[in-house]
Symmetry: C2
Subunit: 295 residues, 2 copies
């Protein structure tokens, strides 16, 4: 990982030990798809960051400086760029400093493997708490996602040779243990609503209408989710497990991996759907990193 | 602030930039009352930390090393000692590393002012989400507490000359703005149950019975709360706003400031109660830092 750390406008060697991001997860982050040394969807990322910072009353560094540093870090390369902004140093105790100076980190990461076939999903046992105050924000209080992602080890299409975790079939003999592999897990709120995958948003097709869960009570308002809502005309809806299983097509999305068709969820399977293929093609036309020559 | 940082058993200069505590609040902490170079309630703190680490599957450093480093940092002094333990370095993404090496920080802080008179409390607007998976844990996902504590600036008994925040009396003319000062704020869950103060647990007296909110759905299982439950025979109960306002006595507690009688909450006032005074005396007898000669 290549990383640069700043306090306010100043480059520093390391994150201060009294940083409130470390103490309380008092910060926000953006994970961005970089392409040939820049971030094509930068304005959408910065707009989301600014909206989150306004809600948390978090000061932000200067956008022009952050973007210049991001370009310098990318050195013309493609991959994943992460920006983390915290409330900076503070005293012991929850009270935020009245004049906070943000700590921010830029880091560059390789692209994860994007499966060429549909994803295999599982249901996570870990639920998302309902907290309208933080709903939609990409903040740094992510223990729920960490615990959800720790529920399974193996990747389905990601790493087919990885060690498998056994589970008992829900339809039969409890002794029938079969390997469980999954690329991603779907999460529900504590109230039972389907919200998202651990690191992606989810869309379902019902007839000719696309639906996606609202993220005002929990979940993250993804930048690719916003794009996909505009591209599909999707509407927000409360969805339960049955709604997803009964869907005509399902996809996940995030800015790093784009539009990810879902092939399997438990016993349910889906064939590739032309509307999902068309959406992938539209993304490829609108975002250079997803153009066929780079995929 | 005097601080030492470690990765596993090794002292390091700074927290690594890829620390998961920074990225996701993926860690736990203990805030401890130190007295003459040691922590009298160390075993209770370590036991709570170990229980939390088991729930989060977080590796812990060696207890003997941590305690030795804590004593070295304290240099015979009294005050506040904070221990923060994170899951250590990890890759981008929520998946915890299979062999995590914990990052841990020890820091020493001055004692806050402990008011000599009863506390002035307020109700926080910020609610606590219900998340049984994390209930009771002193983890580092603390945005709710940060936002709650940011609701008011002034301390009541803490800093009577601090700038005041105006609020309209709920009983009269909306133009009757009076200064609002408060030492602490009480927090409710999103379901309306009273849970705790932003940085303390709460107990109420009803007749001759002490009650305190359960912390299995949200809130922190405080070390001083445990002591006070044993000392008073308090039972856990679901409490709403009316229960607190109708109480015969109220106190807050944490290990840093001990037993804190409450004198006012909104319009409601309480005179000093002999049972609370007796509990303070018992704490003074059992914990050397709270003995009268140090208070």
């Amino acid at each position: 990982m290549s990383v640069r750390v700043f306090v306010g406008a100043r480059a520093v060697d390391a994150v201060p030990a009294d940083d409130r991001g470390l103490a309380y997860g008092d910060g926000l982050f953006e994970t961005m798809r970089a392409h040939r040394g820049d971030v094509p969807w930068w304005p959408a990322h910065w707009a989301r960051l600014a909206a989150g910072a306004a809600r948390l009353r978090l000061p932000l560094p200067d956008e022009a400086q952050v973007r210049a540093e991001a370009r310098a870090l990318l050195e013309g390369e493609s991959g994943v760029l992460k920006l983390l902004v915290t409330r900076g140093s503070g005293g012991r105790g929850y009270m935020p400093p009245t004049k906070a100076i943000p700590t921010w980190l830029l880091s560059r990461h390789p692209l994860p493997v994007v499966p060429k076939t549909g994803l295999v999903l599982r249901w996570c046992d870990t639920r998302l708490a309902v907290q309208p105050l933080l709903g939609g924000l990409k903040h740094c209080n992510r223990l729920e996602q960490v615990m959800a992602r720790a529920e399974w080890q193996a990747g389905g299409t990601e790493s087919p040779s990885a060690p498998v975790v056994g589970y008992a079939s829900r339809h039969g003999d409890a002794m029938t243990v079969r390997p469980q592999v999954a690329d991603e897990g779907l999460m529900r709120s504590t109230e039972g609503d389907v919200v998202c995958a651990t690191a992606a948003n989810v869309f379902i097709l019902r007839g000719n209408r696309w639906l996606t869960p609202a993220v005002d009570r929990c979940g993250i308002a993804g930048v690719c989710r916003r794009w996909a809502m505009d591209a599909t005309g999707a509407t927000e809806a409360r969805l339960d497990v049955t709604d997803v299983e009964a869907a005509d097509a399902v996809f996940l999305c995030n800015v790093v991996r784009g539009i990810l068709p879902v092939a399997r969820l438990g016993e349910r399977t889906w064939a590739p759907h032309p509307l999902v293929v068309a959406l992938q093609q539209r993304l490829a036309a609108e975002h250079p990193a997803f153009a066929p020559e780079y995929s």
